[in-house]
């Protein structure tokens, strides 16, 4: 099923075909979510040990969104990944050691120490690292999509943003521009209830996913803690974009289960809310469903999770072994000597293997 016109707004979870995913894909989804969880837990531990300078941010509880969304994209698609979306980096092929090294400001980090925390993207994997100003990557994703459209390439740009960031003028400018030009872009909105300490009711009077129709494209609400729902909605949106149908705003309902940063005890979050979402943990939930509904053995699932954890532990050792950058690096690279294309990212969805590594080709 495909959402094909601007009025199609609904719950993609129900409507879309789960048959798009093989058994192997499902293992990947679980694996990648667990990898995000384990890597962020490790990052937080390193922070508490004083090994991460500055501050530490994670996306605990939101693993299904970045993993599910990025999983739907092909190698030649492009992403601007935000600060709760570590899973998307892993989907594209970033390894946890490079993530952890980046947080620690090491030479082996994705930015080599130039930038920190989640402000990175591996250009070799088709990603453009976020800036802190939110949601500045939305206009940039438009520009990437515009290039695709101008050159007639069936490729897609995808970016994420939090619900708080939708209050910023750049969000509107990006939505409006994308709507006018029917750009092949997918916007993934993560409503995790809070912008830092600010709750939804102080951010907007109306849920921003409902605003999509005001820009002439669909706003699709999904359960952001259901990785397959996010995947399916994104696959549909990407397909629609590739076919010239224009943008989609996918609104993912979720909850940020840690503070805004490691310094934030999130005392402003009502206990009941926290508990409710604790029960809806995206990884445990998916693991349970794999066993209950999708024909997996309990042990398979726990093996996958255990294997990832030990892989992340190894990665952490590698990250710790990475040296600090040489001070001279600080003065280098303000200006580029030449333009070079971004590289293509990993696209682990089995469908991409079937259709060939060229993500520009159609998925279905």
């Amino acid at each position: 099923m495909r959402l094909s016109d601007a009025s199609a707004v609904g719950d993609a979870t129900v409507a879309l075909d789960r048959g798009l995913l093989t058994r192997g894909d499902r293992v990947q989804l679980l694996r990648l979510m667990e990898m995000m969880r384990a890597a962020e837990e490790r990052g937080l531990a390193l922070y508490k040990q004083g090994k991460v300078p500055g501050s530490f941010y994670d996306g605990r509880g939101e693993e299904a969104i970045s993993v599910g969304a990025a999983f739907a994209l092909g190698p030649r698609d492009r992403l601007c990944i935000l600060h709760r979306d570590l899973g998307a980096h892993f989907v594209r092929g970033v390894t946890p050691d490079r993530y952890l090294a980046n947080y620690m400001g090491r030479a082996g980090g994705v930015t080599g120490g130039k930038d920190g925390n989640m402000h990175f993207g591996d250009r070799a994997l088709g990603c453009v690292g976020m800036v802190s100003m939110l949601p500045d990557m939305a206009p940039v994703a438009n520009g990437i999509a515009l290039a695709f459209k101008m050159r007639g390439e069936p490729r897609v740009a995808l970016t994420f943003f939090g619900e708080g960031s939708t209050a910023n003028g750049q969000w509107h400018e990006a939505m409006n521009f994308a709507g006018i030009h029917r750009l092949p872009v997918v916007f993934v909105l993560e409503n995790n209830r809070f912008a830092y300490s600010t709750p939804n009711q102080l951010e907007f009077a109306v849920d921003p996913v409902e605003r999509a129709s005001g820009y002439g494209f669909p706003g699709v609400g999904v359960d952001g803690n259901d990785v397959e729902a996010v995947f399916t909605a994104t696959a549909a949106a990407a397909e629609r974009a590739r076919e010239g149908g224009g943008p989609t705003l996918i609104g993912c309902e979720t909850m940020r289960m840690h503070g805004h940063g490691a310094h934030d005890d999130m005392s402003y979050v009502p206990a009941a809310l926290r508990e409710e979402w604790e029960r809806r943990d995206p990884i445990d939930g998916y693991a349970a469903r794999l066993v209950a509904e999708l024909g997996f053995e309990e042990s398979e699932v726990s093996d996958v999770r255990a294997e990832v954890r030990s892989y992340v532990a190894e990665c952490a050792e590698r990250a710790l072994a990475s040296p600090p950058p040489e001070p001279e690096v600080a003065g280098e690279g303000v200006f580029a000597e030449r333009w070079q294309p971004l590289g293509d990212g990993a696209a682990p969805w089995s469908r991409w293997a079937e259709t060939g590594a060229d993500g520009a080709r159609r998925a279905a």
Binding site: G113, M133, L202, F204
Partner: protein, 321 residues
């Protein structure tokens, strides 16, 4: 007198002015019950209510624009940018609306934009910037950058009472590392007057914000006749104090953390090169960050931000000149 940190002094100024004048209110992201990213407004919502310590959505032009409108109508808004870096997102309202209204229309805009600025703690390229020179190229904005706890309080109080839009640069590195005696209760420091932080006859270091502390440490350690002039206000600039000190010592080093090209230091250097030329005994030197974004990793950040050793070296060179 109470011994307060620089951060506490800022909070104290806000509290004192809010008690004094009902029209003073705060506006910014997460400043209410949460108390702000740096806890500068902690406790204010409790004391004055959520309506006077307003949590704003993530929209800096909306914040600065709302402050401008409220100021026109007689309120005294104090906006907080969560980090000074985000002022780029509210830049248009600041430089085109607030800054020019009085000149164009005789409409006064008594507002303050608080800007937690500066680096030194691995904030990276988006949480370490020092945007003051942008404002200096936008006539109509006053620009303050206190170095001490007492000045942080006194200048913020003056900024709140000033009938113009004031950019108030609070150096994050000083928040908890600098403390000092701060007068209790109402206390103002006049805007536009530099402060001789240390007297000396051989060399003047003109500095503001974090660089003042580097300069004082260097002077102390070198044990030389070094005068340290703390500008405190970048607009209006205390031209007389700068020129008097430059003429007295004949040697000037200008230091700031902001990047070099067209920074406030360039203006001070140009002023001295134009007005005190005949009294100079040495080239006018600058110690600043080079023209690069502020990197994240400690060894890189240290390579970019002015360091004590460089300050001492620059002083030594000028003294020996």
């Amino acid at each position: 007198m109470a011994e307060l940190t620089y951060l506490e002094a800022i909070s104290d100024a806000l509290r004192t002015e809010m008690r004094r004048d009902d029209s003073v209110f705060c506006l910014g992201e997460d400043i209410g019950a949460f108390g702000g990213a740096f806890k500068v407004t902690a406790g204010l919502a409790e004391e004055f209510g959520a309506d006077r310590v307003l949590d704003a959505p993530l929209a800096e032009n909306a914040i600065i624009g709302a402050a401008t409108g409220a100021a026109i109508e007689g309120m005294r808004p104090v906006c907080e940018m969560q980090f000074a870096d985000f002022v780029a997102c509210g830049f248009d309202q600041l430089v085109n609306v607030a800054a020019k209204l009085h000149y164009r229309q005789g409409v006064a805009v008594p507002m303050v934009v608080r800007l937690p600025s500066g680096g030194g703690f691995s904030g990276g390229p988006f949480h370490s910037q020092n945007p003051e020179a942008w404002f200096l190229q936008a006539p109509g904005l006053k620009v303050l950058a206190p170095a001490t706890a007492a000045d942080a309080k006194g200048l913020l109080a003056s900024a709140i009472r000033d009938p113009n839009p004031v950019c108030f640069l609070e150096h994050k590195g000083l928040y908890r590392h600098v403390r000092g005696e701060v007068p209790e209760g109402e206390y103002t420091v006049p805007i536009g007057k530099a402060r001789v932080a240390r007297e000396g006859a051989e060399l003047t270091v003109v500095a503001y914000g974090s660089a003042v502390h580097l300069a004082l440490a260097a002077a102390e350690q070198l044990g030389e006749e070094i005068e340290v002039l703390d500008l405190r206000s970048l607009c209006p600039l205390d031209r007389e104090a700068i020129l008097a000190s430059a003429r007295k010592t004949g040697k000037v080093l200008i230091a700031h953390e902001a990047t070099r090209a067209c920074g406030a230091g360039a203006e001070v250097a140009a002023l001295i090169g134009e007005e005190a030329f005949e009294d100079l005994d040495a080239p006018i030197r600058r110690l600043t960050a080079p023209d690069v974004p502020i990197p994240f990793s400690p060894p890189l950040e240290q390579a970019v931000l002015p360091q004590l050793e460089q300050m001492k070296e620059a002083c030594r060179e000028l003294l020996a000149y």
